[in-house]
């Protein structure tokens, strides 16, 4: 008895999930709308027309983090409610393929949302120009999204089959995501600074990469235990 090739399984799971999203539009529109609305909330709450530096960085990344929570809650729901876990567990596929597929799904969702939210942020609230900052921003986006995706995929699996799933998902994820928030926000803060050209401290990419790697390892080791039963 040989197992199916993991790459093929991951692709199949990924396509199924994306297809489901395209048919139901459960997550993406809500995330995008939420982000733009949140910028408005910040405008009214802080009573500022534009932001720069630390404040800008914080507002952008907190908004993206909260938008990510919407996805973390929804990404396993179809599986839990429609018996998808059973069908997967009954197959000879490697269990970590499901985790990898969900991480990729979350990554894709986050990138799509950022394509909407970051320009919106630049237009609505950001004072300095975004273009020069872009290359470094991309690095922050990649490593930050990866951290959110890894933690989200693990915690989502943990929370989805409990009775308080909508509450526990965010509550458990947020403390775990604070270091990611810290990393990306501090990384991009100098980029948004109006006065200085903004030198990025090297420590933040390293910290983020390390955090992503460690929790990635933990997630892959523990995921199997969540799928039993």
């Amino acid at each position: 008895m040989t197992r199916p090739r993991s790459a093929a399984v991951v692709v199949a799971l990924l396509r199924a999930q994306l297809r489901l999203e395209l048919r139901t539009f459960e997550s993406l529109p809500a995330m995008c709308l939420f982000s733009v609305t949140a910028f408005l909330l910040f405008h009214f709450g802080l009573d500022v027309d534009s932001l720069s530096g630390n404040l800008a960085s914080g507002v952008l990344w907190v908004t993206l983090l909260l938008a990510a929570l919407l996805a973390i809650n929804r990404v396993y729901v179809a599986d839990a409610e429609q018996g998808g876990f059973d069908a997967f567990v009954l197959s000879p596929a490697e269990r970590s393929t499901l985790l990898l597929a969900k991480i990729l799904v979350l990554l894709i969702y986050l990138v799509v949302v950022e394509l909407v939210a970051v320009p919106a942020f630049a237009i609505l609230l950001l004072e300095p120009s975004l273009w020069q900052a872009m290359p470094s921003m991309l690095g922050a986006i990649v490593l930050g999204d990866l951290g959110i995706a890894v933690i989200g995929a693990l915690v989502g699996a943990l929370a989805v089959r409990t009775q308080a799933r909508d509450l526990l998902g965010p509550l458990v994820s947020l403390p775990l995501l604070v270091p990611v928030l810290l990393g990306v926000a501090r990384w991009t803060a100098p980029l948004f600074d109006a006065s200085r050209a903004g030198a990025v401290a090297l420590r933040w990419p390293l910290v983020l990469a390390l955090y992503d790697a460690i929790f990635g390892l933990i997630a892959f080791s523990l995921f199997d235990f969540l799928l039993e039963d």
Partner: protein, 248 residues
């Protein structure tokens, strides 16, 4: 099994705590800067160390649980987190008192230890609700172990990362202050650390014993036929050992 040695342990712990209190209050000198308030360190820092070590230990016990599937490891992990949470609340309270005395505010953001601590406590505060939200006891134990391992890994990493943030480059940290302790203060500090460690272990063993006794009682009741065949109506966040097997 767990009841053995509990009385001598409690006596030693009580003696250590009493000795520490006496030493801290009467023998250690007053800090030149903070005065009497500084003595709260002898409580605050050891409690903090034990809380964090307790959380990490609970993570290791959870690893043992997942590897052996023995519900006793889950019980140990649960109790460890429970005790550490209680200690953690004490840490936050004593830290708050110290902050108020040192800087006039009940909370300060420039101490990375306190900030990391708050974050860790917020994470572990979700442990009980998580357990409570899962009815199947075996799945509850398994999911709780996954959580305990993830959170246990988070504790040291989080502390390292929070310290890196710019605001904390020149902190007035507890560790800075306690690291440079002169002679007598150092003695009292280590004495306090020893006493609090004993306290943690004693409380842990007390709770383990209580849970074991309750489990044995339930098993005996099951045997005699007093307990009904139906599943108990109340859900519980605490692990129960009765599903570990029958007596005969």
């Amino acid at each position: 099994m767990y009841g053995k040695g509990l009385r001598p342990l409690s006596l030693i712990t009580a003696a250590a705590v009493a000795l520490t209190l006496a030493a801290a209050l009467f023998w250690a000198p007053n800090d030149a800067y903070l005065g009497f308030l500084q003595k709260i360190f002898y409580v605050h820092v050891p409690l903090a160390i034990l809380t964090l070590c307790g959380f990490v230990a609970a993570g290791l016990m959870a690893v043992a649980h997942l590897r052996t599937r023995d519900p006793r490891w889950d019980m140990r992990s649960y109790v460890a987190i429970h005790i550490s949470l209680i200690f953690g609340v004490a840490v936050l309270i004593t830290g708050s008192i110290w902050a108020r005395g040192a800087w006039g505010h009940w909370w300060v953001w420039n101490d990375p230890t306190l900030v990391s601590f708050l974050l860790v406590m917020l994470l572990y505060a979700t442990y009980q609700p998580l357990r409570f939200a899962i009815e199947d006891p075996e799945r509850q134990a398994r999911y709780a172990s996954v959580f305990a391992i993830t959170a246990g890994a988070f504790v040291p990493i989080n502390f390292a990362i929070v310290r890196l943030a710019p605001a904390y480059v020149h902190p007035r940290t507890l560790s800075n202050i306690s690291g440079n302790l002169p002679g007598r203060m150092q003695v009292v500090f280590y004495l306090a650390l020893f006493a609090v460690t004993l306290l943690w272990i004693t409380l842990w063993r007390f709770e383990m014993t209580a849970k074991h006794v309750a489990a044995q009682l339930r098993q005996l009741q099951n045997l005699v036929g007093e307990a009904s065949d139906e599943a108990p109506a109340r859900r519980s966040a605490a692990p129960s050992l009765t599903h570990a097997g029958s007596v005969s």
